[in-house]
Amino acid sequence: MAQPIISVERLGKRYRLRHQAVPYATLRESLAATARRWVAGHAPPQTTEDFWALKDVSFAVQQGEVTGVIGRNGAGKSTLLKILSRITEPTTGRIRLGGRVASLLEVGTGFHPELTGRENIFLNGAILGMTKAEIRKKFDEIVAFAEVDQFLDTPVKHYSSGMYVRLAFAVAAHLEPEILIVDEVLAVGDAEFQQKCIRKMKDVAGHGRTVLFVSHNMMAIRRLCTHGVLLSHGAVAACGDIASIVDTYLEGCQQDAGRASQSFAGGESRPHPAFSRFEIVNAAGEARSTVLTGEPFSVVLGVHNPFDTPVAATIGIEVLDGEGVSLFTTHNDDASRELSMLPPGPSMATCLFDPNPLMPGTYTFQLGMVDRQWTRQDVVVPEVALRVDQVPYVADHMSSRRPGRLFVKLNWSLSGPSVVRA
């Protein structure tokens, strides 16, 4: 067996959690604490807790493999990618990488809204590790892939969200590293463009390059990956052929159905607007993770704006079926032309799913928040799944035997010369 191109050996990453409600240490507090120590002569009780985001993680990836890294929120996927991308250092263990690494943890990192498309291509390319000469060489290809040639000299703040994402992905897609690390970038962009991205990434892999791909979209993972690593609570739970890994993951999700709400730790302490809570509430106002077909329900989101002033933010909820196929996405400003403004501090966003279009089955949600420039503020995948059960007493109405994924109530009429009017 050849030497693996990525080998991860007993990797661990420890974070120190300080049990204090302050997001950032301030100099003033540090000085005050030091002063107190001197005066009191002993150290005040400061509780810190070690949190191992990753513990004893080992796996290997062969050259040319496309490996999907899956797991729940907080399973350690992002930490793993950050260590692999050298953004943060591991606490224990080691990784050997047999080639140049490029990582794409976010679409459009470093894009500046005031700069034009052309300028951002160069800037973003350099940030992703390309040299000026490489970017020049690839420039035309990038522009063609992104389909933005008419708007090259327009500041990207005037771009539509679709154009923005296309341009950003195009730059990243033209990196030529031996190892490409991609995090959840397919979560953005329209379906057509997502397909294009998947094709491009397959193409990249086809050229003998190695791809490590993180996503919550099981469809994309299945289509793209050959191998999988399932992380759970910072450790490798399973590792091997992608189909079996995805099945193991989905089984785990099913078992967890039953909880109806989830709080996101740290939502209040982020320097940008973030989600703090997710809850499913039925028509009677009770927290429920199970509803009947046709029964309206609400998704209640706790949101936190850390600034002193209202900020523009669009909140979106994406509904995915049990396989991870995206069914639809709803935005809080869909029905209005006004900017949606988030008041300072905590607030609550409620989305009423009425009519409830979901067929019997299990559904998951993905929450996203973007600012005016369509820059991602927060993306969260709640672990809570919604189960939709068939209404028991209606024989065939909305049964799982009806083809299609959604139940849409439309207005019908029947006309003809001899229609009997009731």
Binding site: A2, Y15, A25, L27, T91, G99, V101, S103, L123, G129
Partner: protein, 283 residues
């Protein structure tokens, strides 16, 4: 791997404390990023504000006017035959260059937090490239000074060609404290309130409104040497000497200033490197 199984691939090992090994080599590899970040900062600056360029000229101009009025009319300080505005500019331009370089550098990490949490590159590129903006501003004000000289019909001596040396010294003097400040800024978010105060304080302990020789005249030669521990003393004296405001260069004092600057730079790089590995986790 088949036929190319034997090809030489550079292997990268990621381990706790391992980043040091590649640091300086990576710094060279990412030189394009350095230029692009500086280019971005300049582009954005001049795009966002209509007064971008104008502001760079107006700020020193206004301060200069105030200095001239207060010190020459009110305080009546001697200027030794050189037009007073040129004497003041000789101190103020390098000071303002230093002040803006220091504040740009100290904001650089927090301002680019989104990059730090998403991509790897030697972080020192950020504060270093932010100095370029200050350098460009400085070039603009230099042109302004040239115009003031022309207005007064003042011809600087030939040694003005040595000016870039002192500009470099000012950069070194700003980068050292800048590195410390920007790293502290990541950890302690209220540190940014301290920086303007430091700069304000620095203005009064640097020979901006007077000549360094005043210290020697009033307090003796030893005091002047102690005074020269302030790196900006060397920069400003050197700058004035280059444009002919000062006739002699106090070499001992200059050596002291250079030594302090280098020591601060060394300290800054050490401190920065020591805290750098945690930036992505705490920013």
């Amino acid at each position: 791997m088949s036929s190319d199984g034997q090809r030489h691939v550079e292997e990268l090992v990621i381990e706790a404390g391992r980043s040091d090994a590649h640091y300086w080599r990576d710094l060279w590899r990412y030189r394009d990023l350095f230029m692009f970040l500086a280019w971005r900062d300049l582009l954005v600056r001049f795009k966002q504000t209509v007064f971008g360029v104008l502001w760079a000229v107006l700020r020193p101009l206004i301060t200069m006017t105030i200095f001239v009025v207060i010190f020459s009319r009110v305080a009546g300080l001697p200027s030794g035959g050189v037009p007073y505005p040129i004497l003041v500019l000789g101190g103020m331009l390098p000071w303002q260059f230093f002040a803006s370089a220091l504040s740009e550098a100290s904001n650089s990490l927090v301002a680019n937090a989104n990059l730090i949490t998403k991509v790897y590159f030697p972080r020192i590129i950020l504060p270093a490239s932010s100095l370029i903006v200050a350098l460009v501003d400085f070039t603009i004000t230099l042109c302004m000074m040239a115009m003031v000289m022309a207005w007064y019909g003042y011809l600087p001596p030939a040694r003005i060609v040595l000016l870039p040396l002192f500009v470099a010294l000012a950069l070194v003097a700003a980068l050292g404290p800048g590195l410390i400040a920007t790293a502290l800024n990541v950890k302690y978010r209220d540190f940014r309130f301290v920086i303007p105060f430091i700069i304000q304080f620095g203005l009064y302990v640097s020979p901006v409104g007077f000549k360094s020789s005043v210290i020697e005249d009033r307090l003796g030669p030893a005091a002047r040497l102690v005074y020269s521990l302030n790196p900006m003393v060397g920069v400003i004296d050197g700058f004035r000497w280059c444009i002919g405001v000062e006739q002699d260069l106090h070499l001992q004092a200059l050596v002291l200033s250079v030594a302090t600057s280098l020591a601060l730079l060394w300290l800054g790089v050490r401190f920065f490197r020591g805290t750098e590995r945690d930036f992505a986790d705490v920013i």
